[in-house]
Symmetry: C2
Subunit: 376 residues, 2 copies
């Protein structure tokens, strides 16, 4: 009973991790003792490290990781304390996955597309071009096949993934010159990670992977011509408006971006069951809270950018959007042809998108269009 | 430090509740002992009751309340166990607020517009016509003035409110005959609660407040001509398609609906601090999870209704939507003219909507329209 409840908690997802962990018997023992009312309390407080891909305390992303850690510490009354480290403090940003795998840190926070070099399928758990809105993505993750597939992908590494935040819709990027036709992409040097970057490469862009911390400088001194980071709230903090004037929407490449919480599986399994539930609960809370924060703050930041800093908000033309869509499909076909697991994940996402978008289009889209019409 | 963290947790919201509780000194004492590492553990397991406005285990709404209770029980390792009761088991649906106020139950789960008879402002914490999407609403609640105002409204009753789920966009209702012009509303007998019901009354509808459990029968035997409940996932479970054929979108009256978790303030204050954090955490988790579940399930249900049960999905005409918008503004002006607190809440919501919708329209709306265009 207790055990069945655990599986429900994690969604169908729990099954894969448990089966692959080889720890079924221990888990059952823990559950029995909890049933008998004897809380398995650790003798001493446990101290965990969380390494992140973000600059320490970076607004929204880094502070989201901080919140997650604080929720764990407070709900466990300090029995499990999590200390958060910024990129480079223990390991560089792009080594977060390996650090959690090795147990150097018990938790990590970042985004799954950072690991697409070693696992092409990973990118899909963050975002894909013309993919899903934040609400649709949470539906697939928690009430579709999402978390289950994600766990299966990381299980050979002894790492448990969870949705650890969502930025909501991202923007299409900052450009030093207007992008009025497909020709304007040719020869452009731009920072845009993930599958979207590959799409731009096909359209003649030289795509670079400048780390976040160096991005403003590169854009400002003309080392790069364009850069995509997140959206108004984060971009304002980085000061991109001082280096580029044109801010394009929509974020075709990331209609929402799921952040990632990573847990070292051995460390997780060693926790008493209530602390396991607290860790999972804190991650769920942080996942939801980040989206609420970005939603509330993005527009204020967009207003500041446009009204106080003279930024021009522009929209990609239909010609450009159509080409981005066609090229995205080609790139996605290439990725899934080369990697069977990526194909499984994309098949699941495509089937889900085919269904869920009908609901989005007949409900929220119709409403938001009507509200726009009447509020003017 | 610990105390400041608590305030951050609840948002600015915590301030009002603490100030009004008169329990500052006790709270500070508890915080100090927690700082010293001595967890305030209750001598015996605590058992709470949660009364709800839903039929027991009703899909999505009732099960969302069940999940919330289970999260508390599991994260606290049974130190705090919450038993959930369906409507009528301890108190009738519409007496949930009073039961939590009286301490008959320590928690409640429902929707704030059920209490608009005693507090007109309450309706705004669930939904208002042409209001906010679910993501926008969570932004206002957690990172705007939402929870703070909601706490202030309920504080005189010793009840703490929290967002306890969101159904996402609702539908415009089930009709036994097509609604093709404003004339078709005249003389219609319809169940539609909240502010939306008042709008329809202005347009000539006889609005009734049939309880959920009697709704199918009333629609089926022609006692009423139309009914609005939630959306496809919930409506399919109630079988409305067997009684009415026309299913209208969009849900102008509830572009999203926030459910409500209620906590008896004295019971909450008597908890040790870690259990307080667990209660709040579990409520946040349930709030996010309900939206993910409705998003994932609504379309599957809509498909079943249309393809298997011959339901006709229709959209209100522009003439009708424009009249609903105009009449909504008149009704909202009336409510806020009569009740100063409702005016404060509506002012806050209106200012927030003016800003946030620009972001929604330039990001998610542009994206969803483009995706619809290319996916066809």
């Amino acid at each position: 009973m207790k055990r069945r409840e655990f599986l429900t908690w994690a969604g169908a997802a729990g099954i894969a991790a448990t089966a692959l962990s080889g720890c079924n018997s221990e888990r059952d023992d823990a559950a029995s003792s909890a049933d008998a009312g004897a809380a398995p309390t650790p003798a001493e407080p446990i101290r965990w490290k969380m390494v992140t891909t973000w600059p320490k305390n970076f607004p929204g992303l880094g502070t989201g990781a901080n919140n997650m850690a604080r929720y764990i510490t407070e709900m466990s009354n300090g029995r499990l304390t999590v200390d958060v480290y910024g990129a480079g403090e223990i390991v560089p940003a792009l080594e977060v996955f390996d650090a959690v795998k090795a147990g150097t840190a018990q938790m990590g926070h970042g985004a799954a597309y950072y690991w697409q070099g070693k696992m092409p399928a990973a990118a899909f758990f963050a975002a894909f071009p013309f993919g899903l809105t934040a609400d649709e993505m949470n539906g697939w993750l928690y009430h579709g096949e999402g978390i289950e597939l994600w766990e299966e992908l990381y299980a050979p590494h002894g790492v448990i993934p969870r949705p650890g935040g969502n930025t909501g819709p991202q923007m299409g990027g900052w450009f030093r010159k207007p992008i009025e036709s497909l020709d304007d992409f040719k020869g452009l040097k731009m920072r845009l990670p993930g599958i979207g970057g590959e799409v731009l490469r096909q359209l003649g862009v030289t795509v670079v992977n400048t780390p976040g911390g160096e991005l403003f400088q590169a854009l400002n001194d003309g080392t790069i011509d364009a850069a995509e980071w997140v959206g108004p709230f984060n971009d304002l903090a980085f000061g991109f408006h001082r280096a580029a004037k044109y801010y394009y929407a929509p974020g075709w490449q990331e209609p929402s971006a799921t952040m990632e919480a990573l847990i070292n599986q051995d460390a997780f399994e060693a926790l008493p069951e209530d602390l396991q539930r607290i860790v999972e609960g804190a991650i769920r809370m942080a996942n939801a809270d980040m989206l609420a924060e970005f939603t509330a703050r993005n527009n204020r930041a967009l207003k500041t950018l446009v009204e106080d800093h003279g930024v021009e908000l522009r929209y990609f033309s239909d010609e450009i959007m159509a080409a981005l869509f066609e090229t995205s499909n080609e790139v996605l076909a290439g990725i899934t042809a080369d990697d069977p697991f990526a194909a499984r994940v994309y098949d699941s996402l495509s089937a889900y998108r085919r269904d869920v978008r009908q609901w989005t289009e007949s409900s929220e889209l119709e409403f938001v269009k009507a509200r726009q019409r009447y509020l003017g």
